[in-house]
Amino acid sequence: MTDALEVSGLRKTFGEVVAVDEVSFSAAPGRTVGLLGGNGAGKTTTISMLLGLLTPTAGSVQVLGHDLATDRYAVLPRMNFSSPYVDLPHRLTVAQNLLVYAELYGEPDPRERVRELADRLQFTELLDRATGKLSAGQKTRVSLAKALINRPEVLLLDEPTASLDPDTGDWVRRYLEDYRERTSATILLASHNMGEVERLCDDVLMMRRGRVVDRGSPAELLARYGRQTLEDVFLDIARERRSGDRLEPVS
């Protein structure tokens, strides 16, 4: 079976700064892959390249069998994303924003799709409210609805629960688990939240200074570092500890 995501030798430089270096990985359909790393580790830059918003300096990205560099528009209708770095227009109502995106993605019945998502994500009462007047938790639900408007087969989420209270964060995680269960979508999740990654991800890529320095399932990583939580693994990696050795990038 073709991998939903196939990334090979991805590199991005901004002048002298190497933001992402030799990142390679693949994700089978239905898998959730976590990108874990501190600030400036290269997670958002990697996701931007996977979306085609940022041109790689080198390397290739295949999404659902299409080369993003040459065949981007064939695959964009089948993927979507959510990120704290982008917003929906504040002055439009929630319904207006979602309707515009439902039309852009060619949904057969845009109004019905918006109603269905509002119902599933429990924000029907917000549909006529200006998007700029929503709370952080409400915005996250609406942002998630936009990311799901086209029933994406590949979903890229950049810190989907950042700045949410534990209850709302847990609700979002449960929804994502349910979505993957129902649709077999492939999810790439960049996060600082170790608990979230441990709970949602089948595979984890640990990033540091633009490079993948370790990878494996959460259980494998815990065993390899002899730790109880991914947070401890994260700290070991951030401080370059692994059984006393310095970390080297892995391919």
């Binding site: 901004f14 359909p29 239905g30 958002t44 830059t45 931007s48 979306l51 085609g52 918003l53 940022l54 041109t55 528009y73 964009l76 209708p77 993927m79 979507n80 994303f81 990120s83 770095y85 982008v86 917003d87 929906l88 227009p89 504040h90 002055r91 439009l92 109502t93 207006q96 309707l99 515009v100 995106y101 039309e103 852009l104 993605y105 060619g106 949904e107 057969p108 019945d109 936009k146 086209n150 029933r151 087969e153 649709t183 077999s184 979508a185």
Partner: protein, 278 residues
Amino acid sequence: MPIRRPQSRPQTGPLASARRVAAMVRRYWYLIRGSWPRIAELAYWPTIQMILWGLISQFFTTHSHWLADAAGVLIAGVLLWDILFRGQIGFSICFLEELWSRNLGHLFVSPLRPWELVASLMTMSLIRTAIGAGVASVIAIGLYAFSLFDLGPPLVAFFVALMLMGWGMGMVIVAMVLRYGLGAESLAWVALFAFAPISCVYYPVATLPESVQWLAWSTPSAYVFEGMRAVMVDGVFRWDLLAGALALDAVYVAIGAAVFAWAFAAARRDGRLLQTGE
């Protein structure tokens, strides 16, 4: 297991493009519709300009044979200049809305093509100009008994030529904002005024010093305003002037499209599509 998706509408071809352009026009229309100050703003400045120049015109018609023979030439000038200005700013402002709301990232991971965004900006600029200049033109009939619509079919030609120039300039301004960020946004308001003296809105090109007349003849707008005076003063429609305006429009639009394409590619290279906004 593949995702069970309802049959979505086609993603390629003219119909799909038209649907996405319509979705973007709808997005900008929601913005205008939801705010009465935005609607008022569309007509406010053209109306004020028209009133001011109408009064100046009334004063000068009693002191100038030339103006007395062609009553309304100043009002027509200001209304046509406003069509050019609205055409450009209507295009640029809609794009700035996307930057202000940090929405570009969402748009460019959707199936929307860059040229479809440009087409929607053109459509919105047409709608905004029609509202703004239309209201001012109707008020001019009531206040000064001057109807821009009396120009007849040449008005359509002037309108098309000015809108095309506005779009060409709008694309260059949007490209500058994409390239240099929101620090360049004031270009949207001021850039066109550099063209005002050489567009010869209120005076013939021959009024300019001979050494700079070539500059005037390199703007489509100068051809339009000369053509307007030919219709209003001499009663003739100058096809040669229209041809000159449209030929230059083609150059302006081509340059605008090329600069926009370059700026878009540079924005993708430098990561400015995701991290935009204040």
